[in-house]
Symmetry: C2
Subunit: 386 residues, 2 copies
């Protein structure tokens, strides 16, 4: 029998020059640039262009790209009307998978289905890419209003992706520190080598499906609780713990029962997740900005981190990116069930970079299976079945 | 550098007991039963249950399953209204990916997103499975009416999946031979080991995403021209050839230029695709039924087959399933751009069987990448960039 590695663990499925992880040292880099340097000096728009094109853009390139993104914030009214027919209980990830898939019908020039060559057309690729990245955040923010029975807030072309996202959620001019934190969150979640959703994008993309079909497939994959939903769980966990006083006993009880503590540990990193380090800094900044005043969830989180560092730090288990991003999104007033959708907004940059890499040197994914089923057998007519 | 096999060709990605191909002998079997025995003696409903559960059902099991399917034919009016907002130019595959994704919002009890355990609940699995398989064909038929500006035709609970599909397309009592041919087409397309769309379903399913997200991802993957669109191309090709008189010269010209002849050859089969053999028989039956009268596309197809057998038969290149299914769907009055959607209707059975197999012994897919990008480099502020 052939070798079989469940989940293809350790099997190389692609060559890629987009991002790299050094788990021993806790380094994540996009196109060779450390995540720290991008988080502190870049913007989501610039990082996206870096991921897509491979190099830091010139001022003119960045300006042109940002402009195109802003011109694509607007969502067609038939899409809004479509969304109004979704049940108000619809999960944001289901909404987003559905809405992104529908964009393939709303945008002319989506010709992959009848013309494989279209995929090799760089203008086609660039236009579709910018359109998807631009519309993700507005769709997510619109849903928050629509599901609550309100008309959505129109996007503002004078705002960055991060600011416009916050603006479309709240309808208010976004706070500069919160805007910066959102921008950093988007940068940190934009790409992370080959995970399940990115791999799904490669598989779907390898048939030369349209990028709308591809990103919709990736969103569906990210929606699974084993992949994208962890930061939502962190906040649910903190709510369950309820107060910093209860944190220590709660963590110890969970560890005793060998249960998961959400937001702790990451299979890729032996040291603290570099993204968690950056967000930890953001959390501190936010506390300072608010004159040291913390709310209970914040304090509970800090206490959970402290207890976990004591109990698990020697095993290389540290808070990961989900631990802090959940708390920060909560502080922005964003409902928990939207967190994974925000992850998808950011990750659309990485997915599309991988999609472009895939179709530029394409081979359809068609691994084999090891057949372990029944040997040949004769069909038994109904009357003779037992 | 680690080994890297583009497209994971030859790499075993799963163990499966659902279907098996013997390409040398031209045998395709579902759960050990040859496709011929199922095509001639079974129905799509029975074959679906065989694929899902592993054994031929008893009379009571089959009756119960068929009843549940029929009770699930109806599409909620909010879904219909949602579809009315799709552009009438929307491709049926984009429509189907969108609509199936939306079902995840419309059906309560879709709890994978917040409860991983739900995936292990067999009732959950069975209810979602029957719901998806039942609604695929009605959605496809509805779109044919909606995109043309008409109200869709209501499904009929007294009809099988194949008959109801034809009925919802035409609004007329379906012809018995055409119904049988549609039923056989559904059986033949229901499953085909691990191809790109089935693999996408495994990857998406491995995060414990809902089956709606999973099947939507698979539909998106199938929509690519390298995967599902071949039978549509066959009919376009036949239309281009135009008449049987022109077939020989056309084929020879294509072969001289090393261009593809759509519907010929299959990478898995060294002999004639067993599905093609069965459909070839159906074509003959249809010709007989019509008193030997053929239309021009039919005659052109027969001539193309004859010329290709002469020119390519010694290389093991024979007509595949797409060659005949395209012609047969055309005879049923179904528009070309709907063919791949019909493929998806049938394949939903196989996708869901693989999804169930995946989650019953799950491991998230996370293969590795070979990083070939830039080494560490310093961020360059905008003003210093060239």
């Amino acid at each position: 029998m052939k070798d079989f590695l469940p989940g293809l663990q350790g099997v190389a499925a692609t060559k890629s020059s987009i991002s790299d992880i050094d788990g021993e040292k806790g380094i994540l880099s996009y196109r060779g640039y450390s995540l720290e340097s991008l988080a502190f000096q870049s913007t989501f728009e610039e990082t996206t262009l870096l991921l897509l094109d491979g190099e830091l853009p010139t001022s003119a390139e960045l300006h042109g790209f940002s402009q195109k993104l802003r011109e694509n914030y607007r969502i067609k009214y038939h899409i809004r009307e479509m969304m109004r027919h979704f049940p108000h209980t619809g999960h944001p990830m289901d909404m987003l998978q559905t809405a992104v898939s529908s964009l393939g019908m709303f945008y002319p020039g989506t010709e992959c289905l009848t013309d494989a060559e279209a995929c090799e057309d760089l203008n086609y690729v660039k236009n579709m890419t910018v359109n998807i990245i631009a519309q993700m955040a507005p769709l997510v923010a619109m849903w928050e209003h629509i599901r609550n029975g309100w008309d959505p807030i129109q996007p503002r072309k004078d705002l960055s992706v991060a600011k416009n996202l916050l603006y479309m959620f709240s309808g208010e001019e976004p706070d500069p520190l919160m805007s910066r934190i959102m921008d950093v969150c988007l940068i940190l979640h934009a790409e992370h080598t080959l995970n399940a959703s990115t791999f799904a994008a490669l598989v779907a993309g390898s048939t030369l499906a349209t990028p709308y079909s591809v990103i919709s497939a990736a969103i569906g994959t990210l929606s699974g609780p084993l992949h994208g939903a962890a930061n939502q769980r962190v906040v649910q966990m903190l709510r369950e713990i309820g107060s910093p006083k209860r944190a220590e006993a709660w963590v110890d009880e969970r560890l005793k029962n060998k249960e998961v503590i959400w937001g702790m540990g990451h299979r890729e990193y032996k040291v603290k997740d570099p993204r968690a380090k950056i967000l930890h800094g953001m959390v501190k900044q936010l506390v300072e900005d608010r004159g040291g005043e913390l709310d209970e969830m914040f304090e509970t989180a800090m206490k959970v981190e402290e207890v976990c560092a004591d109990r698990l730090g020697h095993k290389g288990v540290y808070p990961n990116v989900d631990f802090y991003s959940g708390i920060l999104y909560s502080q922005m007033g964003i409902p928990e069930d939207q967190f994974t959708a925000l992850f998808a907004v950011a990750r659309s940059a990485g997915w599309l970079a991988h999609w472009r890499e895939q179709i530029s040197d394409n081979r359809i994914y068609r691994p084999t299976q090891i057949y372990v089923g029944s040997g040949p057998r004769e069909y038994v007519p109904m009357a003779e079945r037992k």
